[in-house]
C-alpha cells in the first residue's frame, strides 16, 4: 500500500423515494453529482477520473447503463470504470476511486451512480437470475429467501426470536425518522412489525428494505491536493474486501468454512480494514457504524462481523439500546439499508453517512463526538463484502 492518504471531500445523496417520476436515470445520477461537487466546492472539470457505481443492469432496465451515465458524471475524455459487486457495488466503487488516487493515477476521483429499483416490477425475478442456470435457477431463490434461510440458521444457532428481528426494525425506523434522505421514515412498534404480512419465513414485510430510487456521489482526493487547497476532508484509513465461495449449500452441512447463519467473509474483510487502520478493539475504538443489512436479521451477524459484539450478546445488547442513537455504538444512525435501498448506491451511502458522521454534519441523526466510523457493503448471494474505516 502506498503512503498517499486519501480523503473524502464531497458527498451528495438524493432524498430517496419509491419513485422519482420527475427524473430519468441520468438525471438522478446528475442530481447526486451536483450535490457532491457543491459540497466539495469543485466543478466537473476538476474531476480527473470517475468510477461508476452500477449493480445489475436489469434492475434499471438498461443494458450497460453506464453508457447513459457518462454524460451525467462528465466523464468524456476522462478515465472511467464501471464497478458491479451486487449490493456491495457502492462501497466497491469508493474503494476503486481510492485505489486510483493511492496508485498515483490522479489526485481527484469521483464515484457516482443511481438506481430506480421502484421502476422494476420484478426485482426478485431479477435477483433470482444471479443463481446459476444449471443447478439452482429453477428454485425460487432471491435475496429475501436466501437471507430468510440465514435467519432460520441464525435463530437455530443463537436463539434469535422474531421479536428480536422486529427490534432492529423499530430502532432503524426511529433513526430514519431523523434523516430526511431516508425512504421509510415512519416509526413502528414491535407489535406492528410482528403483525405485518409474512413474506418468506421468518421475514415479514416490515423486516424488509424498500425498493428505492435515488442517486449517490462521493469525491475523493489525495492529501497533497487537499492540503494545497486547504480543503475540508475526512480520511479513509482502512479499506478491504473479502469473498465467500459461490454455493449457498457449501455454507452448511459438515466441514464448511463459513456458516450461512453468519457473515464469515464480512468478518475477514473488517479484520483487514481494521489492521490497515490500526484498530485493535473495535468495540472501544469505533464510534459509529453503517452496516449493510437489507433485512432485519442480517444486522445481528453484521454487528458480530464488525467486532462490535460477540454472538449471543448481540441480540440482548441491541434490545438494551447499545446500538441505538444515544447508545455506546450507534449502528445505522441513518436508518440504514433497511429503510433505504437504491441497490447500485446503497453501500456508497453507508460510506457517505459515516463520512458525514465523523465530519460532524449528519444533522438530526448526528452521533455526538463521532471521530471514527465504519461502513460495510454486502453483495451477490451474501458473497462479496467491502468494508471501510473513516476518520476525522
Amino acid at each position: 500500500m502506498s503512503n498517499t492518504r486519501v480523503g473524502i471531500i464531497g458527498i451528495g445523496q438524493s432524498a430517496f423515494r419509491a419513485r422519482r417520476d420527475d427524473a430519468g436515470y441520468p438525471d438522478l445520477v446528475r442530481e447526486a453529482v451536483t450535490l457532491a461537487l457543491s459540497d466539495a466546492r469543485l466543478e466537473l472539470d476538476d474531476i480527473e477520473a470517475v468510477v461508476y457505481s452500477l449493480s445489475p443492469d436489469s434492475m434499471v432496465g438498461i443494458g450497460n447503463a453506464e453508457r447513459l451515465g457518462v454524460d451525467a458524471v462528465g466523464a468524456r475524455n476522462k478515465r472511467f470504470l464501471r464497478i458491479n459487486t451486487g449490493g456491495a457495488t457502492g462501497i466497491s466503487s469508493v474503494a476503486a476511486a481510492y485505489y486510483h488516487i493511492a496508485a498515483g493515477a490522479c489526485d481527484v476521483c469521483m464515484t457516482a451512480g443511481a438506481d430506480k429499483v421502484g421502476e422494476c416490477g420484478d426485482s426478485q425475478t431479477v435477483l433470482n437470475k444471479i443463481w446459476d442456470p444449471t443447478y439452482e435457477r429453477a428454485l425460487p431463490l432471491g435475496t429475501i429467501t436466501m437471507l430468510a434461510m440465514s435467519a432460520v440458521r441464525y435463530a437455530h444457532k443463537y436463539g434469535m426470536l422474531q421479536e428480536d428481528m422486529a427490534a432492529v426494525v423499530v430502532k432503524n425506523r426511529e433513526h430514519a425518522a431523523k434523516n430526511p434522505n431516508a425512504h421509510l421514515r415512519k416509526q413502528v412498534t414491535i407489535d406492528e412489525v410482528m403483525a405485518s404480512r409474512l413474506i418468506s419465513w421468518p421475514i415479514k414485510l416490515f423486516d424488509c428494505c424498500p425498493q428505492s430510487s435515488g442517486g449517490g456521489a462521493i469525491v475523493l482526493a489525495s492529501e497533497k491536493y487537499i492540503k494545497e487547497r486547504n480543503l475540508d476532508a475526512v480520511w479513509i484509513t482502512g479499506l478491504a474486501h473479502s469473498t465467500e465461495s459461490y454455493y449457498l449449500g457449501d455454507r452448511m452441512g459438515v466441514g464448511f468454512t463459513a456458516d450461512h447463519a453468519d457473515a464469515h467473509a464480512l468478518g475477514e474483510s473488517f479484520q483487514r480494514a481494521y489492521k490497515m487502520a490500526g484498530i485493535t478493539d473495535a468495540r472501544k475504538q469505533v464510534h459509529v457504524a453503517e452496516l449493510y443489512a437489507p433485512f432485519s436479521n442480517t444486522e445481528f451477524h453484521a454487528i458480530e462481523a464488525a467486532g462490535l459484539a460477540k454472538p449471543f450478546e448481540t441480540v440482548p445488547d441491541l434490545r438494551a439500546g447499545r446500538f441505538s442513537l444515544g447508545g455506546d455504538t450507534p449502528v445505522n444512525a441513518s436508518g440504514g439499508t433497511l429503510c433505504t435501498n437504491a441497490i447500485a448506491v446503497t453501500a456508497m451511502i453507508r460510506v457517505a453517512e459515516v463520512a458525514l458522521q465523523v465530519r460532524g454534519t449528519a444533522g438530526g441523526h448526528q452521533v455526538k463526538g463521532a471521530r471514527v466510523g465504519i461502513a460495510s457493503g454486502n453483495g451477490g448471494d451474501h458473497q462479496f463484502f467491502g468494508t471501510m474505516v473513516i476518520e476525522s
Binding site: 431463490l141 434461510m149 437455530h156 449449500g249 457449501d250 464448511f256
Partner: protein, 151 residues
Amino acid sequence: MELMTRNETWNITYRHALGETASFFFANIRDYKKIYGRRCGHTGRVLAPPRAFSDQSLKPTTEWVEIGPGGIIEAFTMVYEEFQNLPPPPYAFGYVRLDKADTAIGGFFRGVDLSDPPAAARKLGIGTRVMTHFAEKRVGDVLDFWFELLD
C-alpha cells in the same frame, strides 16, 4: 406538468450448456432416480450438487459418489408472497444434506401443510430427516426431485 412513463418487458431466450459434470448428474436423476455427488480427492468431501472442482481445495474433483436418498434439513423457508415469474405461493424450499454428502443441495419441500406457518416451521426445523422423491416424468432438471418428511 404531466410526468409520463413508458412500459417495457424483457423476454430473452438462452440455451445453456450444462457441461459434463452436471449432464452426468441430471442424466442419472432422469434415467435411474439416482443422485450423485463429486468427491474431492484432497479433502475427501463429497460436493452436492457435483462440481468439477472443489470449493475448498480448489483442485479438480476425482470420483462420483451416490448420495441420498435420505438426508437432513440444513435450511428452509416458506414463501407466502407472490413474486412475478416465480411460483404461486405458498411453497416451502431449502437445502438438504443428503446422506454421504458433505454439502447441502437445494430443493422444494412438499407434503407439509403450510396453512399454519409456525407449526410448519417446527416440522421443517434444521436437523429434520427427509426423503428424496422423484417425479414420474423426469426431464433432467433440479425440479425432477423434491424432499418430503419421513412420517
